[in-house]
């Protein structure tokens, strides 16, 4: 009651401000009537005069247009600000107008002017373009899925599916030929021959080769997975090509697809501009379900369906609008109010709000990928040499084990991440490589005992331990105090988790100072002052995980000794272990069982040595409006991976 009254008051006062002349009770017509426009008429004025409401002008406009469709004596109004003298328009009766306005909502984009369906996707920042290999915030990839195709992709269950490829090359079907002696391999791809670009040109093997060469170009190219192992690509015919590798490369199945890679049109993109900078990154020619129609930078991107899309009858939805809304709290409100249809990667607390909102549903990826982890720096701060300058605290494996035992992951997961996260303690926790590693126990007493054993004892009773015969080479009395760093972009949940971890470790006598940096600082290259690459940290915490189903490259980057060189990888804790190197080398095989065996041996080694302390999986999901059908979040791709299959149900 009060709310209604308030509504009324606000509207009245708005009207009063907007049109002081119209304060007197307007004559309300009951039946509809025709009207001929005279000088100085405008729609909202008429609407105010006859319907008693300035804002009801869409009723006049739309109902006139409906009449005009049957009777050409009525004018067609395309622009509500422009009506001309002499036009015949239809002014509905009050009830008719009210019924119309109740159904009509200019802000709900479900029905466009021509009765077309469209949806609104929210992104927090203006994307840099459509090229997921050049910029990798995730939103570029989400847009790429709308307009471009790759050869293969991975579905939420972790299975490969084909886009441009006609079949998956395997050893069995002769698509993959391994030269055991030279330890190289050739892969032959067969492509669909019924896919065309939006301008009608066929999409052929030439486009794939063109794209790969542009990526591999030393001037304007960029790094992509498989680049280091690919010698050359050779065209067989318009729809067949062979890739020659310099080694056996197990991840070949997703090299020309997946979330980052798309095939670009040779006849449209200008190779001389370079892959990272060419104009078609921002004005792509579509092969996918949608065509970019308009891009108002910083505001929105609009897409219309691609009539030339190869899957018959798809996409089902006619248009997509991608709106840039920087503030998450605003995005949430828009979703709840029904003004938007998809919110990619809401925070855990927003996801929880979507669960209870009647018109918003939440899609959560069926498997996990992102694992929040602690990187202990085994080298002294500011050094990248763990042998010459070991870290005074963290270079002792017992300390790392105590840290793991001292963190109550279950509490963090349940209370801060609201159950959207699950405890994870090994890299090999998801298909296809699952290794049987026992879940570490939360045991602060045992952690404290371990620290005592390692020579870290609180003798002065200030609550923080000091080195008394510790094994790291730290001087006697060195205080067990360190910095715990996180990155700023994750949001409040990670900040809270950081505070909890510091508190839990504080309880066992490890003092942590907290700090937070932007990703551009934390992950910058060595010379730009990147905190990790320079080794300028003690413990830092962030989440990562490999896309798709092949962890090989991911493992190399994190645990191989060469990856500890500044800028060569992300072994930023500088863990140098020959056994691990040997095991990782052995995983570059095609034999799945052998790979599994090697990975699990490595898993056991990592569990013992703790070069990283894995904590829990991070949430990957999307909120979507209840009228949208077919949305499925996935860690293997962006949530827009199957946008062509989405439908609107009323």
């Amino acid at each position: 009651m009060t709310k209604k009254l308030l509504n009324l008051l606000v509207v009245i006062s708005m009207l009063a401000i907007a049109a002081p002349v119209a304060v007197a009770a307007p004559p309300v017509q009951d039946g509809g009537q025709d009207y001929v426009v005279v000088k100085d008429d405008w729609l909202s004025k008429l609407s105010d005069k006859y319907l008693g409401n300035l804002l009801a002008y869409p009723a006049i406009m739309e109902l006139t247009n409906q009449k005009a469709a049957q009777d050409s004596s009525y004018a067609t109004i395309t622009n509500p600000d422009l009506i001309e003298v002499g036009w015949k328009i239809y002014i509905p009766g009050a009830t008719e107008a009210q019924t119309f306005m109740a159904a009509y909502s200019p802000m709900a984009p479900a029905e466009g002017p021509q009765g077309e369906t469209s949806i609104v996707i929210l992104v927090p920042e203006d994307p840099t373009g459509f090229n997921g290999l050049v910029t990798d915030t995730g939103y570029e990839q989400a847009l790429m899925e709308l307009v471009l195709l790759g050869l293969t992709d991975i579905d939420p269950q972790g299975e490969f599916y084909l886009e441009l490829a006609a079949e998956m090359p395997t050893v069995e079907n002769g698509g993959v030929v391994v030269d055991e002696d030279a330890w190289t391999m050739d892969v032959t791809w067969k492509m669909r021959d019924d896919v065309v670009w939006a301008d009608g040109e066929p999409l052929t093997a030439d486009d794939v080769i063109f794209t790969w060469n542009a990526i591999a170009d030393p001037e304007g190219g960029i790094w992509a997975e498989g680049l280091d192992y690919t010698d050359s690509i050779e065209k067989v015919d318009d729809y067949t090509f062979v890739v020659h590798y310099n080694t056996v490369y197990p991840n070949y199945r997703i090299q020309f697809g997946g979330e980052n890679f798309a095939v670009w049109p040779e006849h449209y993109c200008d190779a001389s501009q370079g892959f990272v900078a060419w104009d078609c990154n921002r004005q792509p020619l579509s092969s996918g379900p949608y065509i970019l129609e308009e891009w108002a930078t910083g505001d929105y991107l609009s897409f219309v369906r691609n009539p030339a899309y190869f899957e018959a009858g798809k996409p089902y939805i006619d248009g997509v609008v991608v709106r840039v809304v920087p503030e998450q709290s605003v995005s949430k409100t828009m979703m709840v109010e029904g003004d938007a249809d998809l919110h990619i990667w809401p925070s855990e607390s927003v996801a929880n709000d979507y669960l209870v909102a009647p018109n918003v549903d939440l899609s959560v990826s069926p498997s996990d990928r992102w694992v929040m982890r602690l990187f202990p720096n085994l080298a002294a701060r500011g050094s990248v040499d763990p042998v010459e300058n070991p870290h005074p605290i963290l270079s002792d494996v017992q300390v790392r084990q105590a840290i793991r035992m001292g963190i109550d992951v279950d509490t963090i997961v349940d209370e801060i991440f609201l159950g959207y996260s699950k405890p994870v303690w090994t890299e090999f926790f998801r298909p296809p490589y699952i290794c049987d590693i026992t879940k570490p126990e939360y045991d602060p007493a045992a952690a404290a005992a371990l620290l005592e054993e390692a020579g870290w004892i609180d003798q002065d009773g200030d609550g923080t331990r000091e080195c008394h015969g510790c094994k790291t080479g730290a001087e006697e009395g060195y205080v067990m105090s360190m910095e715990l760093t996180i990155y700023a972009e994750y949001g409040e949940e990670l900040e809270l988790a950081q505070q909890l971890v510091a508190e839990m470790l504080g309880d066992i006598g490890i003092n942590l100072e907290l700090s937070m940096f932007e990703g551009t600082i934390l992950w910058a290259d060595y010379e730009s002052g990147g905190i990790e690459q320079q080794g300028d940290f003690d413990l830092d915490m962030w989440d990562d995980g490999y896309p798709g189903i092949d962890p090989t490259d991911h493992i190399w980057y994190y645990y191989y000794s060469e990856a500890a060189e500044p800028d060569w990888g992300w072994n930023v804790g500088r863990w140098i272990n020959e056994d691990a190197d040997a095991l990782i080398d052995e995983t570059y095989y095609l034999d799945e069982e052998y790979r599994q065996e090697m990975f699990c041996e490595l898993a056991a080694l990592l569990d013992e040595e703790l070069p990283q302390i894995l904590l829990f999986s991070a949430f990957d999901g999307a909120g979507y409006s209840a009228r949208l059908q077919g949305v499925q979040a996935t860690v293997n791709d962006m949530v827009t991976w199957n946008v062509a299959d989405w439908k609107i149900v009323q």
Binding site: P106, D136, T137, P218, D299, V325, V336, G569
Partner: protein, 346 residues
């Protein structure tokens, strides 16, 4: 007067130069940079980083980078393909010849990006400033004329309150009330839109535009109205006690004429100066408003560049902003001299 303006313009040149040196050093001194991996994969290969560094000219010492930024590099040999060999003349023309370079973020010309956003900001800030003037001047004038009346007390109190509300906080509240809680009783849709410049796909419609302006303008104007009306009130009080106003009263002129013809005109003069000083915000925009109401303006462009270490974009916006400030300062002084005949410049 002409000589005065000329002198001020001449002084502006070394000042801009000084500012540009300081800003350039500041922008480039921070750790992190355009070569850090973007987003989730966070990796950039060292070979690639080297190439990019040479292509962007980041391998050169800072003073050289500054000179290139200022006057371009088309007079020197550069390493365009990043292979370590300088083979051709550069293509940069430097800001002195109107070339602000390319954004590191999306490789678009910086000026084009700014040209995309600037009209949106001018539109929003222009409307805001006009509304501020329309509201603040009568409020300030009337409350001065009726000093200590209920009206005056209410206005003064409100203006103190208006200055004490954090701007972003006000915006959040406005969205909650007018978007989330209140509905249009006729359509059932939210009373006012949550952001953006217009309803998508609607074409240009005046009513729609106004609806989209109400909340951002309200958020942006509150602090200003509070400050302007207080300023005008105290200016007006001063003027009302001046001798010439007494004389005017003594002559028997009507109170209305005294107040609005003589007093207000003189009280507005200092306000014009303040106003001129606030004009540069038409260029820089209000970041908080743009963030909350998803307004695609300059403030957000700058914020994005600052968090992403997009040096060319940062420098362009800062230096153009400083140019605007200096011009506005000059305008303020000229306006003051023009409006107040007591001021003479040699």
């Amino acid at each position: 007067m002409g000589r005065y303006i000329a002198r001020r313009l001449l002084q502006a040149i070394p000042m801009l130069f000084m500012i540009s040196v300081v800003l350039f050093a500041l922008v480039n001194i921070a750790p992190g940079g355009p070569l850090s991996g973007h987003g989730r994969s966070r990796r950039i290969r060292p070979e690639k980083a080297e190439i990019l560094k040479r292509q962007f000219g980041l391998d050169k010492p800072l003073p050289i980078q500054y000179v290139i930024w200022l006057v371009g590099n088309d007079w020197m040999r550069v390493d365009a393909d990043g292979d370590g060999v300088t083979e051709s003349y550069g293509e940069r023309r430097g800001i002195l010849r109107g070339d602000f370079g390319f954004s590191y973020r999306n490789r678009q010309p910086v000026l084009e990006e700014i040209a995309d956003r600037l009209p949106n900001t001018i539109y929003l800030m222009g409307v805001t400033l006009i509304v501020v003037g329309i509201i603040a001047i009568p409020l300030g004038a009337i409350s001065a004329v009726r000093q200590y009346s209920v009206f005056d007390i209410v206005v003064t109190t409100l203006s103190f309150m208006g200055q004490a509300i954090p701007e972003f906080w006000l915006g959040l509240i406005l969205i909650l009330i007018f978007y989330a809680w209140l509905n249009n009783p006729f359509t059932g849709a939210p009373l006012l839109p949550s952001g953006g410049m217009q309803t998508f796909g609607m074409g240009f419609a005046i009513w729609d535009r106004i609806q989209h302006l109400i909340l951002p303008v309200t958020m942006g104007m509150v602090g200003w109205v509070a400050w302007y009306s207080r300023f005008l009130r105290s200016g007006m009080l001063d003027v009302l006690h001046q001798d010439y106003v007494r004389t005017a009263r003594a002559k028997g002129l009507s109170e209305h004429l005294v107040v609005y013809r003589h007093a207000l005109k003189n009280a507005v003069i200092p306000l014009v100066t303040i106003f001129a000083l606030d004009l540069p915000s038409i260029f820089a925009g209000s970041l908080y408003v743009e963030l909350l109401f998803s307004w695609p303006g300059m403030g957000r462009l700058y914020y994005q560049a600052a968090t992403g270490r997009d040096y060319p974009m940062l420098m362009a916006i800062l230096i153009i902003g400083a140019g605007f400030m200096i011009t506005a300062n000059l305008l303020a002084d000229i306006a003051y001299a023009y409006l107040d005949p007591r001021i003479r410049y040699d």
